[in-house]
Subunit: 411 residues, 2 copies
């Protein structure tokens, strides 16, 4: 990267910029701004009146029509690769069926695991492609996708391969998370420790050997895995030099966030039942709190995550869709912005930081994306709005007019 303008390929002029370089403190606004791209990176940004000399014959100059430019959006917690769907179970429950009747009708995560195991790699790819395409059209340039509906080696690998292919197909960065410890497969009924053996001794080594995962996640919960089992997975992740994430404190406070902090995890996610102690531990370890308003909404949770204490302790807050067939069949990061404000009372600045700079931090990629900064990836979204808060306030009319991934126009 050089300061010279000779490598510039594209220049956006007549734009308002929300750089998101100040975390949740401000949008980092530059009015009447301009931004130049060189070799897929941001080469210059600032006031249009401060533009250095450049050769108009070699740079494509684009008039932004006074629209708003933000970092490309990041959905840092999703489960969008799965077989089947759970519409049937959704309908049965609303018709008054009991959980037992639903289980007898093959409902619950077991049904998704079965359908995912039965689906071919191609089928999984095609159904996830529809979802990710819709999500990209909302402004995403990066998405995290978890495995965890296979719960056996072959299917977990199949899911992670699909995640890799989606990235290639759609010009979107996909960060792949191995979530073998998502639920207990029926083959291991009453033998959770035996399943964790499989996860740490067979699955993780083979997945690492094939370079299929960028991080490791565990669902630590009464209906998931206990603290000791969670720690075994964390230790294995450390041995393989993979960053750690955790589904924690969603339905009860097991102290998984504190444990994750001891392992320098990137993030702890859900967090409705997070304790003061957990918050302090996360702050100390500079972890990101990933909040999931879609699951909160869909499960009709009433306990809010401890937003005010997270704020006071300067824990970075990210927002994600948690898109999954069971507890958040909602594939819209724009809706998450509105729900983060409406349900969790985040400010629009916090919500937007939650799907840009703080989402990048939750994925450990905040050194090159999630903010508009010289040298960062030219991952950009251009919006037909009058102020950034409009992205959070209104929903249903997609104001995205241009999406740029590493300098290339995608939409």
């Amino acid at each position: 990267m050089t300061n010279s303008t000779t490598h510039w390929t594209t220049l956006y002029k007549n734009i308002n910029i929300a750089t998101m370089t100040e975390a949740s403190n401000s949008y980092g606004i530059i009015n009447q701004g301009a931004l130049a791209i060189a070799t897929g990176k941001i080469a210059w940004l600032g006031k249009e009146s401060d533009l250095p000399y450049f050769d108009e014959n070699t740079v494509e100059v684009i008039d932004g029509n006074n629209q708003w430019l933000t970092p490309g959006l990041i959905d840092c917690h999703t489960h969008i690769i799965y077989g089947g769907n759970r519409a049937n179970e959704f309908e049965l429950r609303l018709q008054g069926a009991s959980y037992e009747e639903i289980a007898n009708n093959g409902g619950g995560i077991v049904s998704t695991v079965n359908a995912t195991r039965q689906a071919s790699e191609n089928e999984l790819f095609n159904s996830a492609l529809k979802r990710l395409t819709a999500m990209q059209q909302q402004g995403l340039t990066t998405v995290e996708i978890k495995s965890g509906y296979g719960l056996d080696l072959n299917t977990e690998i199949k899911m992670l391969k699909v995640a890799t292919k989606l990235s290639e197909k759609l010009a979107i960065t996909v960060k792949r998370t191995f979530l073998g410890a998502h639920a207990l497969p029926i083959e291991f009924k009453n033998n959770a420790n035996g399943y964790i053996d499989l996860v740490v001794n067979e699955m993780l080594p083979q997945i690492c050997a094939q370079k299929l995962a960028d991080s490791v996640d565990v669902f630590c919960e009464g209906i998931g895995f206990n603290l000791a089992q969670t720690e075994r997975v964390f230790k294995a992740a450390k041995r393989h030099n993979l960053p750690i994430k955790v589904h924690a404190e969603q339905l009860s406070d097991l102290g998984a966030s504190e444990l994750a902090a001891q392992y320098q995890a990137l993030s702890s996610e859900h967090l409705e039942f997070l304790s003061e102690k957990g918050i302090k531990a996360m702050a100390q370890a500079d972890m990101t709190a990933v909040l999931l308003p879609g699951a909160f909404y869909f499960l009709r949770e009433t306990k809010l995550p401890p937003i005010e204490q997270l704020r006071k302790n300067n824990v970075a807050m990210a927002i994600a869709s948690d898109a999954n067939p069971g507890s958040s069949p909602i594939h819209s990061i724009q809706l998450m912005l509105n729900m983060a404000c409406t349900l969790f009372r985040l400010t629009p600045i916090e919500a937007l930081a939650g799907i840009t700079c703080n989402a990048a931090k939750a994925l450990g990629i905040d050194n090159h994306t999630g903010m508009l900064k010289v040298g960062f990836d030219a991952d950009l979204a251009l919006w037909d709005i009058s102020q950034p808060a409009e992205l959070c306030y209104q929903f249903g009319v997609n104001p995205l007019t241009t999406l740029i991934k590493q300098g290339k126009s995608i939409l």
Copy 2:
């Protein structure tokens, strides 16, 4: 309409049909079905195996690929024509500003009234066109739009003219509702009766003379108009032979639904605080209960409308977006399906009936649209789903593949 197949222009084959002809009792499913269109109406529908002879040389035969066909969707309560937006107020509130501070910053409905008065007809048309286009892409073939941000004769007329033009532009049926009695304009501060004089003596006669309204609505509420004022508007509507609708029992129980029943109103809308007495009166008068989950969500209301009692009393329930800049800046009928189920616990059958047959009933047009039935308008939506409940269960991936308005393909 003749039973002959000689007038058929288009035939959809290889489709599953949800006729919605049985209100909330069932989807009215025809598997392996077919549907024929002649002169913009449904000419035949049934099992493909029961198709009568037709001339394949004169009929366009379309393979529906085993997708699902439903009536085109109907959003029967919206306020999508307005100037400005309230993103600023939304942000201030989340930053902790008091209502007084927001009012001092020009917030509240007053700000929308000012912006709507100041906007040209063209500006109002263009901003509403964006909203309605996004809504149509979700499957709408009919929408209701209310005036009520002018609160003076000229602006109310301007809004209703824009509504008329939107219908012509988008090939969507727009039912226009005069809602002069939406709020008290500042010119009439402390003189609500004087404003009602204007509404009934000047606005309504002139709007009727120009044939700009299809129905009349009133916001009966502590912050709107009282029962006596509401009744004056109802009487005036009756004199002008316009059907009546009412915003009622949203924040308190004033008995507006009972009053509306006495005037054979089409519908009463919002209804969180509706009493048993109001329900009985609505049932007696065959009124439709229009439920608005978007406003419930956005205002963080906790009191649910009395769904179970409405069911028991066989009051037809419709669902609508209430799309408006203050209490539901949400332009998505598909999201309303999910919210009706998730927040109000409607079954998917009830939710889908709520935006098809029952929404048509709420607009008084259920004799020709909202169901798939021979002789009805060929207003159709084709969906890439495996079962109707999917329309309610998942959100974010738009499964609409074809939209037909009066026999013509729109999308």
